[in-house]
């Protein structure tokens, strides 16, 4: 167990290091980072000053050392637009992002799990086919387009829901639906295949042989076991949602991290863009680590596999 956790931790650290190297190198190899770090419209003297201040005139190794040491100190630079440390900005937007992601997740699970179960229990019947169509549509409709259609229908034509902003539950409804839509399809697919696997297992056969009613077999024996992979995926997807929300947040002017990133791009506020990518990536790595470890704690088969 300890060895497993140590190994996962090692992988996570390597991933974080590679993440910082990737971002560091891309910024430096694709052009002059001083031009990105300086405010738009700055003079050549300003650019040179920035270059010296950030050590961009020194060797790549020294630069990387400086980059990492400021990261470790939590210094991600200052936003040009807001004139405040980027980390503060990020943390102030995080709750809104999480709220949206949790709402979208709840929606995707409420839709995805029951439809997945029905599709598995009625495999190859019309319910299953309907589920397949739903999954295909979910995976094929871009979330931002779904968002725009929702606005068109519910805000412009019907006038029921506010088209943008945040604050009330009514504001949350459409963004959560647009964001959760894709994931509902993904969760449905996984629930279906996971249920099918469990339904073919020995212990479900035994439960049936015992003469348990089919409803009980499905709800008590199959469903609980089939749920494990779905919930694992959901845990990781929650972080992925915070990330892909950038388009949905842009559509609905939702004040989360995605919107922050979009503003960073629109205002050419490079420190903001770099910091959001770094922190989002780090968040994914850390949450995957937590999920892996929790999974091993719950399921001994994984712990002893290696």
């Amino acid at each position: 167990m300890k060895r497993y956790i140590a190994q996962r931790l090692g992988y996570a650290l390597i991933s974080l290091a590679l993440l910082s190297v990737t971002i560091f190198l891309f910024v430096r190899l694709t052009g002059d980072p001083a031009v990105l770090l300086v405010e738009p419209g700055a003079s050549q003297a300003d650019i040179d000053a920035i270059r010296h201040q950030f050590g961009l005139d020194r060797s790549l190794w020294v630069q990387y050392g400086l980059f990492v040491s400021s990261l470790v100190r939590g210094d991600l630079g200052n936003s040009f637009y807001y004139r405040t440390p980027v980390l503060e900005l990020y943390l102030s937007r995080l709750p809104q992002s999480l709220l949206l992601a949790v709402a979208a997740m709840a929606f995707s699970l409420v839709i995805g799990i029951p439809t997945g179960i029905i599709a598995a229990v009625r495999v190859n019947r019309w319910w299953d086919s309907a589920g397949k169509v739903f999954a295909l549509l979910g995976l094929s409709l871009p979330s931002f387009w779904v968002g725009l259609l929702l606005i068109l229908f519910f805000s412009v034509y019907l006038g029921w829901l506010p088209s943008s902003g945040s604050g009330t539950a009514a504001h949350l409804l459409m963004p959560a639906f647009a964001l959760g839509w894709y994931f509902a399809a993904a969760h449905m697919r996984l629930t279906r295949s996971s249920m099918l696997e469990v339904l073919g297992s020995e212990y479900v056969k035994l439960a049936r042989l015992k003469g348990l009613p089919e409803a009980l077999v499905i709800s008590k024996h199959a469903f609980k076991n089939a749920l494990i992979p779905v919930l694992t995926l959901a845990g990781i997807n929650l972080v992925i949602m915070v990330n892909v929300a950038v388009v949905v947040e842009t559509v609905f002017a939702w004040p989360g991290i995605g919107r922050l990133m979009y503003e960073g791009i629109a205002f050419r506020d490079f420190p903001v863009v770099q910091a959001t990518v770094l922190l989002n990536g780090a968040m994914v790595v850390i949450v995957s680590l937590i999920v892996d470890v929790l999974y091993a704690v719950i399921d001994p088969r994984i712990r002893f596999a290696r």
Partner: protein, 297 residues
């Protein structure tokens, strides 16, 4: 000799392809739609009734022809600069097809090569490639792509490179797994005994055997790539205006959304949806057809 070998290989591929088309469940509609899209993209300059990038400000926000106020000049209406929506959709197909197919190709070539290298060479080569793959896979594709696009600036060429960089990891993972099992097969062992160099084995014995999977993955990736391109363009870091990309049209369409100019939002989205849906349908079918191992993907 090499030419003859390739000829029999492609003939075999073609034969199995024809046989598959005759078989059940072939997604005829999806394939025809993709074919139509290719046709439209190829002959965009013949088909489009107007210049997609030039409009007349006096004719802004004209509705489609069947609505009140619509004219036959703009069959599907005009946008906020008075440009013909139909022409922009037609030229948008060209952007999506070009960016989509090239990006899938770039990602596929890089990912397949690295996957083969990683799987066949093993050792530290494998370790390095797989660590990078895992990290890049962990990075949310969209965020990563936005970051790269923000660094290098928007252009069609850059988008292709960015999408290739972001998505090669998907191929590398799957192909490596296949190579690991191919490596243990008799024909590879015999080739080693026969004294073939590693390069020859990878090129002549491994590569042809993973091509099926690469093609299946590529078809499935086409939808993902098209959506990502649209999202990037929508956010303003993709194809630069005034080029008519569907994602860009959606971003422009937002300007008329609250006024109820539905055609600017509904029509480009429909085009994206049809292309992605067709690619996914075809990809799903190919996956089941050629590669039962990939069904779980």
């Amino acid at each position: 000799m090499n030419g003859a070998r390739t000829a029999t290989l492609t003939a075999g591929w073609r034969l199995s392809a024809i046989r598959s088309i005759r078989s059940e469940g072939f997604p005829l509609i999806a394939t025809s739609l993709l074919g139509l899209l290719l046709f439209v993209a190829l002959f965009a300059n013949v088909l489009a009734p107007h210049d997609p990038e030039v409009g007349s400000l006096g004719e802004r926000f004209r509705p489609p022809v069947w609505q009140q106020g619509g004219s036959e000049k703009f069959l599907l209406g005009s946008d906020h600069l008075g440009r013909d929506v139909l022409s922009r959709l037609i030229f948008g197909a060209r952007v999506s097809v070009v960016v989509g197919f090239t990006a899938v190709l770039v990602a596929g070539v890089v990912g397949t090569l690295l996957g083969i290298l990683s799987g066949y060479m093993g050792g530290w080569v494998d370790q390095v490639i797989m660590r990078v793959t895992d990290t890049w896979l962990a990075l949310p594709a969209l965020t990563f792509a936005i970051f790269l696009a923000a660094v290098v600036g928007p252009s069609e060429m850059n988008i292709v490179i960015i999408l290739g960089l972001v998505y090669w990891t998907r191929y590398a993972r799957v192909i490596r797994g296949e190579v690991l099992s191919l490596k243990e097969r008799d024909f590879v062992r015999l080739a080693i005994v026969a004294g073939c160099s590693k390069r020859t084995i990878m090129r002549r014995h491994i590569l042809p055997n993973v091509l099926n999977s690469a093609i299946v993955l590529g078809t499935l990736m086409l939808g993902v790539v098209v959506v990502t391109e649209a999202a990037l363009s929508f956010l303003g870091v993709g194809v630069p205006p005034p080029k008519p990309a569907w994602g860009l049209m959606l971003a422009d369409g937002k300007k008329g959304l609250m006024a109820g100019y539905w055609w600017l939002t509904v029509l480009p989205g429909c085009c994206i949806m049809l292309m992605v849906l067709s690619a996914n349908l075809l990809g799903d079918w190919l996956r089941v057809k050629f590669d039962p191992q990939l069904r779980q993907l």
